[in-house]
Symmetry: C2
Subunit: 219 residues, 2 copies
């Protein structure tokens, strides 16, 4: 059985969720009180509806409690975001994800039953700051407070060496899980694999070890 | 030599960048035309300045061209974002990252010389949609259009089996690069490592192979 989603609020954040879910073949009902925004989604979402979701009778007439997961992507109007979330949980929606504008907003959303609260601007700010601090780190996945997977671009200090030459695991305690070379992905590279300039190394390890490695390579 | 950053615009996105850069020990000058927002950063950033960055003489008097990297995090006022970015490049700032509200805004920013354009709401919408589609996928890193690293939570179909039992590499062509178990991270797990319920498996592979594995595990 396919999961059915509802996205309420078609600003940049809600639009993007709605598009991506639709592209992945999901059934999505898109709701906004602004008719122009809804019209944009007529051909993208399974259903696109003009409605004010702070009106309980509207939510009921849409049969909203039959959907598996509702995403509340209302931003600036914090009161509407809270009221909508409250009523979604009251009519019995199983899973509600809501966007928060600030910590206070988050606290209220959780108290009234939101199952997941997201802070897109704050989280993307952190990601981008992390990517900016190091010129060599292209992207990363935080595994825990102290461990990450990072994409590091190989500079001329590394290029020309094999993994044995560099002996990264013994010297830094980190592992290269893959190498991205143009369109090719080399998973679990062999010890005699030479690193080429601009190879992207996918590294796993403790943050401080990765940091040490990265500093060394920029010396 | 430490890099020096400027963040212009202290909304949620700019604030978050400013905080994260400061926490990482970077020198950051925080600028906003709103005095209250600037005051919040007095004790966080190296310098916090009230200024309208669309005024060229202001930019010059701040010596902005001596900084390594300026982040323009002005959102709703697209005209100010564009004007600020234009002048930053004209006074000779080497690297400018600017936030775009939409595709048209991005095009203009790139034309006038922005080195990097970011869409926090859109990108976070995509990330969250991807995380939502599958209940088991917690987070991911896109390596290419067709390859990813994913964090998948082990359900009771997997729990109790060792990696040999599951024979994932041969059957799906994917690799488990690490297992996250509570606070512990097991990198390159041995073949006889048993998987426990709620272990988080860090998997690398082609998207369609990971997808196939994930569907199988939810059967
Ligand atoms: N009560 C409501 N019912 C339905 N839609 C609503 C309601 N209140 C607000 N919206 C819609 O939510 C959408 C998102 O609102 P928001 O204020 O976050 O706009 P935005 O800043 O453009 O969004 P983003 O930050 O994602 O770019 C708007 O299109 C708005 O019409
Ligand atoms: N010309 C300018 N000079 C300096 N600061 C500016 C200028 N124009 C706008 N700003 C500041 O940029 C900040 C971000 O503006 P934006 O409209 O994106 O606010 P926001 O929606 O609160 O931000 P976010 O979307 O990151 O949460 C505001 O604090 C605003 O005062
Ligand atoms: Ca907004
Ligand atoms: Ca960390
Ligand atoms: Ca905004
Ligand atoms: Ca993809």
């Amino acid at each position: 059985m396919k999961k059915e989603f509802v996205v309420i609020g078609l600003g940049r954040f809600g639009s993007s969720i709605c598009r991506e879910l639709s592209e992945q073949g999901m059934e999505v009902m898109a709701i906004d009180m602004d008719e122009d925004r809804v019209n944009e989604f007529a051909s993208i979402a399974s259903h696109a509806v003009v409605a004010d979701t702070t009106d309980e009778s509207v939510l009921k007439s849409l049969g909203i409690r039959n959907f598996d997961h509702v995403i509340v992507a209302i931003g600036d109007d914090i009161q509407s975001s809270i009221l909508t979330t409250l009523m979604l949980k009251e009519v019995g929606v199983k899973k509600v994800t809501a966007k928060a504008q600030n910590d206070y907003h988050e606290k209220v959303l959780l108290k009234i039953g939101a199952d997941q609260v997201v802070h897109p601007e704050r989280d993307m700010g952190r990601r981008i700051a992390n990517n900016i601090v190091s010129n060599n780190v292209l992207d990363y996945l935080e595994l825990s407070d102290e461990h990450s997977i990072m994409e590091i671009i190989a500079n001329d200090t590394l290029a020309g060496n094999t993994l044995i030459d560099l002996d990264i695991r013994a010297r830094y305690g980190i592992n290269i899980v893959a190498i991205k070379r143009g369109k090719e992905i080399i998973v679990s590279p062999q010890a005699d694999e030479p690193i080429l300039l601009n190879d992207i190394l996918i590294i796993i390890g403790a943050d401080q070890d990765i940091d040490r490695f990265e500093k060394k390579m920029n010396d």
